[in-house]
Subunit: 363 residues, 4 copies
């Protein structure tokens, strides 16, 4: 049973390889009569687009999205929305030298092991190019959430060992503006500067480096999440871990919470003038028992360094013999600046799905 | 759309509340003709059972499992296997004082917010008692995996700030024996001693503490995992995050990998005399591109401290007014010793499901 | 991938064999706070119960339903509802003579062919006893629908070649009362008398006979059904065809519609004082384009004759050798009187599921 | 929860409207390394294509299929196969007169009732044009089945009251050749002639007529089908009922079986020299207990007459006022000749899915 579908009520199915004709997505379950802002979808794709700055891959793709179905006179019709993003800069020849050689820490070997065949051009389906389809679909999910006052905001919170300070409760628009002012997409300007310089050095070394992205969701009403397996944070975790290069996920107090005592960790409920109670602290990360409690939802995602480096590396080929892989091709020295919008997209897809799922909870 | 089903081809649906008649599980998709060792299932439940030591809750439950269907003359028939675990020690009165009061960092408020009604006795469905059903089902998954030489082993790798050394590549049986020799279920005897003392102190304070569980899966063949959404580690992550009190998940290099450079992080492939290649290092945690590569799979799970403490705490009631919660009831000072077998069960369920899913990949 | 789950948002998973400990069902997705009338559930089961009249099997089962979870103080909590029906009259010895012999037109051979193992006692999982779980779950679905003014009514419309006249638009309560006044469950008293006499004769011959059940659903609002695959009638058809012994399904004009011309078959829309338009005729059976149009939904289900007869029959055994099967055991001469409530239950489950699914169609 | 996905392990998701840019399909789960014969896919589409004869609609569409992903060097890679069929002859103006008027027995009213918005051009998503995507996907399923010696063959068995004789056990290639020799696609040449003349007369009347398609599946091994809900015939029934204009489905003895006695209906097992037993008769239609028994599978599908007629008809508009619909546009006088390949495609999709599902039944 293949795994290219995500979500249940707001459900996406993606297709496409790095160097095929196109990549795309079907969204099944977008509520009807909803205005679809195509410019917003394109602007989201532009944030993931390669070649946008000196610290991203130089592959040239306009990533222009086309609607194939499901939208009539600017509104969703309730039928499947199909979006297509043609591939343009398919320098497949760049990959001819890798046809039978397994690049270390890529998916070359495992795809061969699983399928017995693989499209070796640029990683084929395993390429992060696939995530463009997620961003396009996620943009529609974001529009849907915004309609209900729910905002999803992520930024680069760490590159290597350079960590940004915790985001204070800034207004969504402000923090978004700050993030978009720098090419590394960190909302703290001083840290951003440091990160960019560091990544540029790594790039000159022909090397790569990992990083972290932190995400906050504001305006989420209490009640989203479906125990006992489809808890809100479990779905968020799966969504994040399905993104290329992600090695870790934590929400609320996360790993540091494992070192705390209950007396310090418990989030005390406060009275709130008849409205949903707030909590004094938010170690729960806005989710209790797998269900949103109305507080800010927050989580952090860890990305390993990109596997493509400009160094020669030892490896084996498909026959099992020793081989050498040459450092070649176009790549990102650090994936996190372009991944910010992917994290947001996947978070929005989870929220939109859980939002619709919750509708069936009561008569 | 409710969320009490997990898995696709090896699929479980669980039911039951903390203080209801019983909890249980249906397993749909267990292959036919497979011998079901009921004693093993019971022995797994015994590891999760309350009251097993001084550092666990004193609730008395024998957790005796009954078969209702799907097994004939000791073997699976391919039809649904239903397992039932009656509740015995239902001291519901212990919870009468909490009927309208929201316990901090529990699911009381969010269940009310979601459903508008809740079984307040012992947390109802949100109680970790629900995980007994997972352990019973997971035991069958483990038997299935063992048949293919796949072993799943977890142990307590941290309690508070006390961390166990990394497990060296010990033989499965040895490390299992070491773990079962101490009540905290850490495979390193010296660390175990320290952890037990620490937990006992926390218990005497009427407090609780978090911890971590690390898990290794050996013997997994290359090829399991279904990109792009149902990657093996994404399914493992969701499985772990669906367990009560889990706040974080990382595999392979995890969060520390985000600080590394690609040149250090890449797992170099080695020739292996015609067999599946091995890698020099294993920062990939046995999974590349979402698919197992034949190396050891490893991951770590972070648990927050148990929310029930023996202190009085401020809170609000269902009417939104200030209230006080009394420290009362039976609880675990640290959840990780009993959660080891839950982590293993959920990992086994993911592996069994992906194992069956993989069968459809080729003709 | 096994198939013991039905529905998506109102989802049931059933388990249990004819001569095992019990049969049962988990309902996941029943909206919260809904009053569950256990007496109604039991009364529905009583209509399916064996031994209720001279024209049904004489197996004695009280079919007493027990709640295991999901209901608190008489109301659904939004968590899984588990219902259990213990087996009582398990005369397994009746089936000892059939252990290795394949009964003609039963599932003995195909279960062996599929699973390589089977619980031969009374057909095991393939027995129609399994449908008791559907009736219990369907009763809850019926209660839910009744809350919205939707009624589901079926009756025996044919036994052998004896056909009941089409039901005129009688009031639901009247037609239900008429049906329950006779043991064959035909709403037309004169036809019922004829059917009963005929079945009694068939029974005395040691033979069996097929029949048809017709069902009408009133009060269904326009809009239910999910094109293009989960059309309302497609889901109803699958639900009916999943019932033991069903060989055909038609809705609206059905098979006779294939003989008509469009000019005669088209249902002309009529103005309706600002309310949803009605149609002059209803060859569409209340469903157009797979979506309910607000008119009465109607369909008919064809049942083959029960395979168990009191005659000796030639067959083969598991070794492939010729064998003879003796006419023995308890059985129904005609399945349709007891199947009426099963048809209603499956229809109600489809409607409840589509009702909840429809909630996500609009914001 | 929308319904544009069909199947589980061989799973398709379709998109597209009658007069949009294109229609298409994603196939997720096609086994890897399988040769994909694009000419065969195109030849199947040609059988469904409009404008192929005087008894079909005169809309001009080449229905040229394009591959977007999932196939590399002529073989499936195990990743999603996306197929696109651009719309060419989109005379949307033909439908301007219908914008606010509900055509009788079409889906115009129900789509408005469900979604509150609809693409009125040519029926939008409710148009049978959508089935081209099914045919393209079904062609790949057919190739897969053929690899295992399973053939799917359908033909027009009735038009109005003209019925073809039952197909004798002709060789697949012969009967296929006979069917393709006439434009009505009936495998009996004499009946075909009669049907064509009748349809032509109906067409000249500006009217339409219904019909039936019968399908046989040969070479299906015993064991396919997943009780208790996903029985093989239940999945086939749902597949057929999801096709536009289908009002009925029966398999094996079907509706006539409801008139028979068990002693006549039971299919006696015969010894078969150590091979899977055959049955003397095949009233079971090749399926017992929901599982294939190795005999020929057969079923019949009833189609209502096409709703678009060249007569003026009374109706209502979106405001609920009386209106008149003019007979205009391009349409089929009888849908069954073009639907033969749709029936085959949906049957092949069910079989391919159940074939893969069955792989998980045993270790």
């Amino acid at each position: 049973m293949a795994g290219n579908t995500f979500g249940h009520l707001f459900r996406i199915s993606t297709f496409g390889e790095s160097h095929g004709v196109a990549i795309g997505v079907i969204i099944d379950g977008c509520p009807a009569q909803f205005p679809i802002d195509m410019e917003f979808i394109q602007s989201e794709l532009d944030k993931r687009r390669p070649g946008q700055s000196k610290i991203t891959t130089q592959r040239k793709e306009s990533d222009t999205v086309q609607i194939l179905s499901g939208i009539f006179e600017g509104k969703s019709t309730g039928t499947p929305i199909a979006l297509l993003i043609p591939n343009e800069d398919q320098r497949s020849k760049d990959y001819d030298h890798n046809t039978n050689v397994y690049r270390p820490s890529h998916a070359d070997y495992t795809y061969d092991a699983k399928y017995g065949i693989r499209d070796h051009r640029g990683g084929g389906r395993s390429s992060a190019r696939e995530t463009a389809a997620r961003v396009a679909a996620g943009a529609i999910a974001k529009l849907l959430l915004a309609h209900y006052g729910i905002t999803v905001f992520a930024h680069v919170s760490a590159v290597g060992t350079i960590n940004a300070p915790n985001l204070q409760a800034l207004h969504y628009d402000e923090v978004l503006a700050q993030r978009e002012e720098n090419i590394v997409r960190c909302a703290d300007p001083a840290t951003a500067k440091e990160m960019i310089e560091f990544i540029d050095g790594v790039r000159k070394d022909g090397d790569t480096v990992g990083g972290k992205i932190s995400c906050v969701i504001n305006g989420c009403p209490p009640g989203l999440g479906e125990p006992v397996f489809d808890k809100l944070h479990a779905d968020l975790g799966k969504a994040m871990l399905s993104i290329n290069a992600v090695h870790g996920f934590e929400y609320g107090s996360g790993f540091s919470g494992s070192e705390m005592r209950g007396s310090a960790h418990n989030d005390i409920f406060l009275t709130n003038e008849g409205k949903a109670p707030k909590t004094l602290t938010n170690f729960s990360g806005g989710i209790q028992g797998g269900i949103s409690n109305g507080m800010e939802i927050n989580f952090t995602v860890a990305f390993k360094p990109v596997a493509t480096i400009m160094h020669n590396q030892q490896t084996v080929n498909a026959a099992g013999d020793a081989a050498e892989i040459k450092g070649k091709g176009r790549h990102d020295p650090c994936v996190v600046p372009r991944a910010v919008v992917i994290v947001e997209a996947m978070a929005a897809l989870v929220l939109a799905d859980q939002f619709l799922r919750h509708k069936a909870t009561r008569l």
